[in-house]
Symmetry: C3
Subunit: 159 residues, 3 copies
Amino acid sequence: MKNLVLTAALAAGLALPGLAQSSTAMTDQQAFQQGTFHGATADQAQYHVIYQLDSDDPKLIQQTLRNIGNALEDTRLKGKLTVELVAFGTGVAVFRKDQSYEPQLTALKQKGVILAQCLNTLKEKKISKDELLPLIAYVPSGNGELIIRQAQGWSLVHP
Amino acid sequence: MKNLVLTAALAAGLALPGLAQSSTAMTDQQAFQQGTFHGATADQAQYHVIYQLDSDDPKLIQQTLRNIGNALEDTRLKGKLTVELVAFGTGVAVFRKDQSYEPQLTALKQKGVILAQCLNTLKEKKISKDELLPLIAYVPSGNGELIIRQAQGWSLVHP
Amino acid sequence: MKNLVLTAALAAGLALPGLAQSSTAMTDQQAFQQGTFHGATADQAQYHVIYQLDSDDPKLIQQTLRNIGNALEDTRLKGKLTVELVAFGTGVAVFRKDQSYEPQLTALKQKGVILAQCLNTLKEKKISKDELLPLIAYVPSGNGELIIRQAQGWSLVHP
């Protein structure tokens, strides 16, 4: 009996997700060739994504904030997407008081987006928390956050 | 009995993948130190990857198309890799009729690569579908596509 | 009985991870709103990450090497993180003898970091192994390495 249980459990835990994934992809590939593919199907109850911002290029910052908005509004994900934005390196610019992103960040926070700044960056760049907007949280390192989130099954977007 | 079943199932579903992953990594680390590491082992039946293109830099576009070709030709993945290319933001350039990527895109499509354009980008940039090559598909948002694909277990490459 | 086993196994293999993930995210979102969020919780025994380097920009190379150091020192990951750095495209610069990264690479190798160069890049750019530092390993393609590692459950960081 133990063997049967283990065999069933192994089959369920290891083989089924693989099968499901593979058959989905086959269908999408075929649909694309036939001109009937309209995007991946979101059949999970919840989705999670971490956005990586490690640049102070104003165009890239705007693109990142706009991308988060687009993901939250995607009809496939609406109401079931958790988002975290993590800034590190020169990306700290997005959270600086002397920049102009506060209205957009406030709006994202009201939609449930987690706003996280890397503490390592503050140390390396000798930046004080007083220079940053009070609405954010701090994480030990931006890279650690990216690694742990993905291990938790979160998707990654790096615009 | 129920407890035994649940314990076995939990062990199979949660602990085994972790163990397997960990022991593989240990072996690769040791092999690298001994000078006998030649790349990760591809022991799965199927692989899936989504390529992110969000730039109109011709060098980056060429690099992305070349990278997809290299992945499909990697001896470890040959014949078992499903690829989707999703373009958004200024990355829409790769699918424009007035650009010169059609021959490469046609070749990739013949190899089974899914070519997907973000509809949000068309709306934001006021681009008509008539301006784009007819061989592509459209998805609600490029960011949504990246998020859903990774949640389905697909790998991500952003050249 | 078989049905019960399968049901339990399916529940364990498919539903539980989703539930666990979702409840973690809810908690972090709530903690963030309340000002008590201090970063994702690392409750796994082992973590694995592959770093992608595909640029010869000296600032980006330095940032990548520094990022790897930061991840290894993150208090949440210390002692349980396996790292691989894969270079391809113009990223091969980091491993060239005529560059100055050898001391940093040697230090990372001593900490267990796997250093891998894409063989496709050498062929395309007609670079001989003699031009590169002897402390590295070679993999068939950098893109293949990124794809296989993520399929093995590794996280991806592309600085």
